[in-house]
């Protein structure tokens, strides 16, 4: 059967009241955590991981996908009204969005963000529907050497893209990989890095690491700097687009989508890069370049479409190769694993109905998100009036709940506090935490594939460079390394020239 027929079966399965309910819960929670600054979709999915082990896989994954898409919608509300990105992919939206809000055009900014997100996520999901089976088909030929090379691509690009400097990104990645080594080696039964502590034999739970690095470090950071006072731009009218706003928005939506989806679906992805590119493109193409920096609607429409399309794109390598390229995708991968499902080419053949139900629910979730976000923009904006001491104290309560549910012992809570302090040090030092999460989750998979490859070749490392695909991938690794080393130098040179 072709993709379309499978998708229709997926829709038939997804419109049961139960699945619709979980999709609605997911998108509602997702929008809320997207709106709240400092609480992102990666953290939320991690917090809910242990709790949903009581749900059946389809319900849990539909909810997580809803949180993932919803977080992208909600993030723009905070960026526009508060001038703080609700999550990292909305950083660019603050540039023009908050200027529009201060000029009394908050409603138009929110509307172009929400409709642009809908258009982009829908096109992105359509592209996912037809691209994913092709990629999965292609990936069935991958053996351990190909996977090792793919992991290397992901490691390099994740460290280079998810932070400011390659050195700090690699540092974060290595810390994640090291934490991933703790526990009994599955292939030989040897305990590694346990130092005789029995409760470390099972390793450190991913949930605890994610909660500590994202939630505790945020709360600790606010203890140091104070919670401060923020000004929320007022939202007076309903979120609607005037005819001229629409005329200026729709080409930007489409261009943002065209940038976002392909970049998101590369095993290099992330949703941040396409938002930068989209903003630069809109600024260059705009008929009103003088408005940029003062609230140009294209500067909201393009990047918001780009980040939602990229979010759909990130699901391509996640579902077809099992390669997460963002922190949220990495945590969703863990959710699959906890149900004994391994995303990858076999997922489509072995768990086809589940995957297609999930993809169908993405379309449905998108419609729900548009309906939730346009008329209810004012309600979501009210979330921003929660005082931050209450917000972060509440985050701590959920952080300890998630940790207790994952581990269930006092030791787990102590590990949480210790890792939280490590996260605080990283935050203070400008070291990104997302690569650590990717390293923690991909590290053990990479090790397994590497050892499988070397066992096949009886220890001869040349197997890692055999075959056309692996060589291409290693060239990509080399180019990405050179590129990320050369880029800051070029930027510095351009900066000195600008100064004159």
């Amino acid at each position: 059967m072709d993709s379309f027929g499978l998708l229709m079966d997926g829709f038939a399965a997804a419109v049961t009241p139960e699945h619709l309910l979980w999709a609605l819960i997911g998108v509602t929670i997702g929008t809320a955590v997207g709106v709240l600054p400092g609480v992102g979709p990666a953290l939320t999915v991690a917090l809910l991981l242990p709790i949903t082990f009581r749900l059946d896989p389809a319900n849990a994954l539909i909810m997580f996908a809803g949180i993932y898409y919803g977080g992208m919608y909600g993030g723009s509300t905070t960026a526009i009204l508060l001038n703080t990105p609700g999550e990292s992919a909305s950083m660019i939206t603050t540039l023009e969005g908050n200027k529009m809000a201060r000029a009394g055009r908050a409603a138009a900014a929110l509307a172009t963000a929400a409709i642009g997100s809908f258009v982009a996520a829908t096109i992105g999901t359509v592209a996912l529907t037809f691209l994913a089976p092709v990629v999965a088909d292609f990936a069935t030929s991958f053996g351990p050497p190909e996977y090792v090379a793919l992991m290397a691509v992901a490691f390099v690009t994740v460290s280079a893209l998810l932070g400011r400097s390659l050195l700090k990104g690699v540092a974060s990645l290595l810390v994640g990989v090291t934490i991933g080594l703790i526990g009994i080696d599955t292939q030989t039964g040897q305990p590694r890095l346990t130092f005789g502590i029995d409760s470390l034999l099972d390793g450190v739970d991913v949930v605890i690491v994610v909660i500590a690095l994202f939630a505790l470090s945020e709360a600790f950071g606010h203890l140091l700097t104070g919670t401060g006072h923020t000004t929320v731009a007022p939202l007076r009218e309903r979120a609607v687009l005037s005819r001229s706003d629409l005329r200026r928005s729709w080409p930007a939506w489409l261009r943002g989508t065209a940038l976002g989806f392909p970049i998101g679906s590369l095993p290099a992805g992330g949703a941040e890069v396409p938002t930068f590119l989209s903003y630069a493109t809109e600024k260059k193409l705009s008929k009103h370049p003088e408005e940029f920096g003062h609230g140009a609607i294209e500067g909201v429409a393009g990047p918001e479409a780009a980040n939602n399309a990229a979010a759909a794109g990130v699901l391509v390598p996640l579902l077809t190769i099992g390669l997460p390229t963002s922190a949220t995708a990495a945590v969703i991968l863990t959710a699959f694993q906890s149900y004994g499902l391994q995303p990858g080419p076999q997922l489509f053949s072995e768990s086809g109905p589940l995957v297609w139900t999930l993809i169908a629910s993405l379309y449905i979730g998108n419609v729900m998100l548009l309906l939730l976000n346009l008329p209810l923009a004012k309600v979501w904006a009210r979330l921003l009036t929660i005082p931050s001491y209450g917000l972060y104290a509440g985050v701590l309560v959920f952080a300890t709940l998630g940790t207790f549910a994952a581990g269930g012992t006092a030791v787990d809570l102590l590990v949480l506090a210790a890792l939280g302090l490590l996260g605080l040090l990283m935050r203070l030092g400008g070291i990104p935490v997302a690569p650590a999460v990717v390293g923690l989750i991909l590290g053990p998979i990479a090790e397994e594939q590497l050892r499988r490859a070397l066992t096949l070749s009886e220890g001869d490392p040349s197997i890692l460079f055999s075959g056309g695909i692996t060589i291409v991938l290693w060239v990509v690794v080399a180019l990405a390394l050179i590129g990320s080393l050369a880029l800051p130098a070029l930027r510095r040179r351009a900066a000195t020239r600008d100064r004159g």
Partner: protein
């Protein structure tokens, strides 16, 4: 993006250097631990991956230390922390440790309320009794939803919640 990277402030530089030092310590631990792993008959033993990871930890940690040392000279003062910043973080860690130890004894609702109140007061909540009310309400709702509805069994104190 045409804006240039701002000069890093002293605290960022020192923290990134300290993180480099932590990585150096971790590097030694990982290498020592990997070396004592026994050899196996397979082509690749359990130490094959930890050894290079340990070496890389050392190299990158050293790199961060060197970078921090070089940047320290031109680092500017950053925004000041709020009053009692250090004690606040220590207080929060103490509250988390107390939570870990008291949870099985006093039950979920009471300990979580206490954790909420401690965190909120350290973060600068203006009114103690109102914070207690919020914390109690949140802990009670969480207990009802997750313990009674979803069926995750949370610890109960002698009074059953």
């Amino acid at each position: 993006m045409t804006e240039t990277e701002p000069a890093p402030d002293r605290r960022t530089v020192l923290s990134s250097g300290a993180f480099g030092a932590v990585m150096l310590v971790a590097s030694v631990l990982v290498i020592v631990d990997a070396v004592r792993l026994p050899d196996t008959s397979g082509a690749v033993g359990p130490a094959a991956v930890p050894l290079p990871v340990g070496v890389l930890l050392g190299v990158v940690g050293g790199g961060l230390l060197v970078q921090a040392r070089l940047q320290l000279a031109r680092a500017a003062d950053g925004e000041p922390w709020q009053r009692g910043a250090g004690p606040r973080v220590l207080g929060m860690v103490a509250a988390l440790v107390a939570f870990a130890l008291l949870l099985p004894v006093l039950g979920y609702v009471l300990t979580s309320t206490a954790l909420f109140v401690a965190a909120a007061m350290l973060l600068g909540a203006p009114s103690f009794w109102r914070t207690v009310a919020y914390g109690w309400a949140l802990a009670a709702i969480v207990f009802l939803v997750f313990d009674r509805v979803i069926g995750l069994s949370l610890p109960t104190g002698p009074w059953g919640f």
